[in-house]
Amino acid sequence: MPWIDWELVEGIDYAEVTVLLKGGGSEIVARARNLVPAEGLKGVMKYVIEAVYEAGPRPCPPIIVSVGIGANVSIAMKLAAKGLLRPVGVRHEDPEVARLEETLLQAINGIGYGAHGMGGRVTALDVHVDYAPRHPATLSVAVVMNCWAARRATMRVYADGRIEYITHLHLNKEVV
């Protein structure tokens, strides 16, 4: 059985199911750490850039980098993993976080790994950041990467049993 993570969302009466197929190459470079809170956002950025730098060509760049910041490493890792579901090019709704995403993307592409580490301007296609409230005593950060193929599919199962395919629209015609 694949790992299934689920959340209850208020106000909807359908189940949205997303499958994310992830390779070992981009998973073995995932990492999480408790920073000294005083390191702040600068510490977070340093940690993320180091993670990508040390991953090198292993996660099949150009990659999608997802960062979670939270009160402990399990919260941070959950947010980071979930961030991979966000489509490339979609910024965080909070403008401050959106700016952080853009700054990180620019810094990561400055590394110059390029596709499969062959050199080039695009090492990451996008950087997604999300956060959860935390206590001043802790600052946990997690980084998860996905290869450029980013295989995923989403469908909705409605209360009356009807199924709608969100990412693979052609399936809507084939299924009665």
Partner: protein, 142 residues
């Protein structure tokens, strides 16, 4: 950057001519092995036993195959590269003892493999991941 169209079995001379950045088109017999395959091969060789395939001059592909059963045979659905660094601990022995001339994978390998390539005349090549479907169309048999 030069382009080469090579065919297995590969000679040491041909492999030593290749430079970083060259593009290689390979036709012939490619044997796939990943983590456990490497481990078993190295264990067999260290006990002085024979391997089922003579790998001299052949290409070794770090592959993640997806196969399905069709009647009495296996059919390849997709066969993409897998991250090569996991095989770093075994590759020196594999190149030395099995005579592999070309390693195909992704993500690069470590200093021990580089040393073995230099010493015994082999090369590491990268096949970009995520293009499994193209590769399957060129597959003649399993």
């Amino acid at each position: 950057m030069a382009e080469y169209k090579l065919r297995t079995p590969l000679s040491e001379d041909v492999v030593r001519e290749l430079n970083v950045g060259d593009i290689v088109y390979l036709t012939g017999i490619v044997v796939t092995m990943r983590d456990t395959g490497h481990k078993r091969a190295v264990e067999l060789l260290s006990r002085g036993e024979k391997l089922p395939v003579d790998m001299r001059g052949l290409a070794l592909y770090h592959a993640g195959p997806v196969v399905r059963r069709v009647g009495d045979r296996w059919e390849v659905v997709v066969i993409g590269p897998t991250t090569s660094t996991r095989m770093e601990v075994y590759e020196y022995d594999v190149i030395e003892k099995m005579g592999v001339r070309m390693v195909i994978g992704k993500g690069g390998m470590g200093p021990r493999t580089a040393e073995a390539c230099k010493k015994f005349g082999a090369v590491y090549t990268v096949y970009p991941g995520g293009q499994q479907h193209c590769r399957r169309s060129r597959l003649r048999g399993l």
